[in-house]
């Protein structure tokens, strides 16, 4: 049982390169900023599983960004409404509206459109910001964290020992 749990942790904590974690966090932002179940959620799950991104990072990111999405909900709605109401794009939206495929994306929903547009705008800057922050974290905070009593307790647990065995992992996150 412990070995199985350790193997699951290994899968979740694979792909620990800062870029892979940042990519997972950006995908999580897309996932969380479009709260309704649409076609793009399926595509995002596909990308998270098939691309070498950090799954734990994705799950944690999804939780954090869901909370953020709830807080900035009025802004998502306002942005979505503005984009969908833009006169210049009316023809495009009417064409997409007649298509079953595009209707599956829920593009005509203000939150979905707003969330998508904001996530698209923030994705690239956030990717580089997360990379920077992860590097800084590893450089300055990790050694200090590993010395804390909690970290010592975790390292002394059987799960952690099994985890080290299955992953051959000796270093940091």
């Amino acid at each position: 049982m412990i070995t199985l749990l350790a193997k699951l942790l290994k899968v979740l904590n694979a792909e620990t390169d800062p870029g892979q974690i940042s990519a997972a966090l950006c995908l999580a932002m897309f996932f969380a900023f479009m709260p309704l179940m649409t076609l793009q959620h399926l595509i995002l799950i596909f990308l998270v599983l098939v691309l070498r991104v950090n799954i734990t990072g994705f799950i944690l990111g999804w939780m954090v960004f869901s909370a953020v999405a709830f807080i900035i909900d009025p802004m998502l709605h306002a942005v979505g409404m503005a984009v969908l109401s833009a006169g210049a794009l009316e023809g495009l939206w009417s064409t997409l509206y007649d298509s079953g495929f595009w209707r599956l994306t829920g593009f005509n929903n203000t939150i979905v459109m707003g969330g998508f547009v904001i996530a698209l705008v923030l994705a690239v800057p956030l990717y580089f910001l997360f990379n920077f922050l992860i590097r800084r974290y590893r450089q300055y905070f990790l050694a200090w964290i590993q010395k804390t009593r909690l970290a010592q307790m975790v390292k002394g647990s059987r799960i952690f020992a099994a985890y080290q065995t299955v992953s051959g992992w000796r270093s940091s996150v």
Partner: protein
């Protein structure tokens, strides 16, 4: 490639998708059933239940079995039951979010069936100002009610009523007392015995003084004095005569009042008889009284279902989504101009077969849509049916036209031929119940029009081979016997009913040959009952008011005494002259 691709993840994706699809397939039938029950219950206001719902993907369709819709006003009865509903969806439109049903078939539809358990739901509080009286109740009130067949005794009636006789007696007694006081005062100021004695003395003095001053002048002086005395006496007698005349006039007036007072108990008896007794005029439109309650019940039932369902089947206009109250995290689905617009909900064709009062009725409804403006076509229905062994037929057709929301226009026409009715409760009151135990509907023709909120309906029916049962509610009363006897003779009659006003305040009228026959038949009994009641009332009123009338009459004795006194004084005065 493997630097970016996690191949096991591809397998994991398919496993997750397969698991999700399996869970969806396992849960979807339950979810659909739950949605139908929840939405239906909310729309109807009573429990809607589904035995089973089965969603199929290829072709995309839904089969519902054992649908039961509880009657909102009768929780132990189902308003509608449907054995099976099968519908096929338009897949492309479903993907676009439009619930378009290509064709729907409903079989085993039945109405007003008993339930095993109550289908009531917790009622929400009525909005303030909501009327406690139902539409049917208001209509019945307007049509009139059969008077209570429990005859009240004459004494009970007069105990609860103000009698005009007593009021009149009081007034007359006061008038007599006033007259007595007035004339007594006048009598005090009129010449009396003492006055006339004074005249007598003066005359005697005049006679006695004839020897004192002789001659012509003396004689002339005495003659002048005698003339003056005569004038004074004549003036006093005039005053007495005038008073006597006034008294006679007043007495005559008061005597007329007394005569009128003696007739007052009769008038009171007639008034109370009119109020309490039954008469052909008093019980109004007999056909409305007998047939009205049932008709009012049908009208109320039909209107309540019409008002309840019409927004869901034909006029659920799309609200402006931008103005909807948005819930956090949900957003708003905006609608865009489409090259091929379709309503959000649209059942293209629904074929229905139902059992209606022993008749197998089948037909179809076309274009049940949430927004008929988009469709540009009204909802149209057309049904026909025959009874067992081809006995009787029914045709119903019509349209709900909401293509122009400013001018909604709905209509329905129906015909029934040669249909047998049985055990139809027409009247159910405390005093009596009337049941049409059997009858043959030779022909019924009806048309109903609803323009906006305005109602206009006409129904004409001919019935034959009718049998009525009249049962007394409590103690047997002559009216129950009379009605039973009258209805027992009626075999055929016609009914003409109409409906006007508005959907929320309908005005109904009903007329039938039944009413004329009943009136004619009941007239004799009612008149007899009326005469008896009037007699009893008159007797009871006389007993109650006799004392007051006698007391009033005794007031005249005082006036008689004044009259005697005046007469006596006049005689006295006249004897001097």
């Amino acid at each position: 490639m493997s630097r970016f691709i996690r191949w096991p993840g591809l397998a994991a994706f398919f496993v997750i998708v397969a698991l999700g699809a399996s869970v969806w397939l396992l849960m979807v039938d339950y979810a659909v059933r739950h949605v139908i029950e929840k939405t239906g219950t909310k729309a109807v206001g009573a429990r809607v239940e589904v035995a089973d719902a089965d969603l199929s993907l290829f072709p995309l369709g839904l089969e519902i079995t054992g649908l039961q819709v509880t009657h909102p006003n009768s929780p132990m009865r189902n308003a509608v039951v449907v054995e099976k509903i099968r519908m096929n969806f338009h897949t492309g439109e479903i993907i676009k979010g439009n619930k378009v049903v290509e064709d729907l078939s409903a079989t085993g539809v039945g109405f007003d069936k008993p339930r095993k358990t109550s289908g009531a739901i917790a009622k929400k509080e009525k909005p303030s100002g909501a009327s406690e009286i139902s539409v049917a109740e208001k209509m019945r009130e307007k049509l009139g009610r059969l008077p209570s067949a429990t005859a009240e005794s004459a004494r009970q009636i007069i105990a609860n009523e103000q009698l005009e006789t007593l009021k009149q007696a009081q007034t007359l007694q006061q008038e007599i007392a006033d007259a007595r006081d007035r004339f007594s005062k006048r009598l005090e100021n009129l010449p009396d015995q003492e006055t006339f004695a004074g005249y007598k003395k003066r005359i005697n003095d005049l006679k006695g003084g004839s020897g004192e001053s002789g001659g012509l002048l003396g004689t002339l002086g005495r003659a002048g004095q005698a003339g003056e005395i005569r004038k004074d006496i004549q003036a006093d007698l005039r005053a007495l005569r005038e008073t006597r005349q006034d008294l006679a006039d007043t007495r005559e007036k008061l005597q007329t009042g007394l005569a009128d007072l003696r007739a007052a108990p009769g008038r009171d008896a007639r008034r109370l008889t009119d109020k309490y007794a039954l008469s052909p005029k008093g019980i109004g439109n007999m056909s409305a009284l007998i047939l009205g309650p049932k008709y009012a019940g049908w009208v109320e039932n039909s209107l309540s279902w019409y008002l309840r369902l019409s927004p869901h089947v034909s006029a659920m206009m799309e609200k402006s989504r931008e103005t909807e109250k948005r819930r956090r995290g949900e957003g708003i689905d905006l609608r865009f101009a489409s090259r091929r617009p379709v309503p959000e909900y649209w059942i293209k064709t629904a074929r229905v077969s139902a059992d209606m009062g022993g008749m197998d009725v089948s037909g179809q409804i076309s274009d049940i849509a949430s927004d008929p403006r988009v469709l540009g076509r009204p909802l149209v229905f057309d049904f026909a049916g025959v009874g067992a062994d081809n006995a009787g037929s029914v045709k119903i057709n019509g349209r709900l036209d909401r293509t122009n929301p400013e001018h909604p226009a709905d209509r329905a026409d129906f015909q029934i031929r040669e249909h047998t009715l049985s055990s139809l409760q027409l009247l159910d009151q405390d005093s009596m119940s009337v049941v049409l135990s059997k009858a043959r509907l030779d022909a019924v023709d009806g048309s109903i029009r609803v323009a906006g909120a305005e109602l206009d309906a006409e129904i004409a029916a001919d019935l034959s081979d009718a049998r009525f049962d009249v049962n007394p509610g409590g103690k047997e009363h002559f009216l129950v016997r009379a009605l039973a006897s009258a209805l027992g003779d009626i075999r055929s009659f016609d009914v003409a009913a109409s409906l006007g006003g508005t959907l929320t305040q309908p005005e109904m009228s009903i007329d039938s040959g039944l009413g004329d026959v009943l009136k004619a038949s009941l007239s004799r009994d009612l008149e007899k009952h009326r005469a008896q009641m009037q007699q009893h009332l008159k007797q009871a009123i006389s007993e109650k008011t006799g004392g007051a009338i006698d007391e009033t009459e005794s007031g005249f004795s005082a006036l008689d005494a004044i009259e005697q006194e005046l007469k006596k004084r006049l005689n006295l005065g006249a004897s001097i002259l």
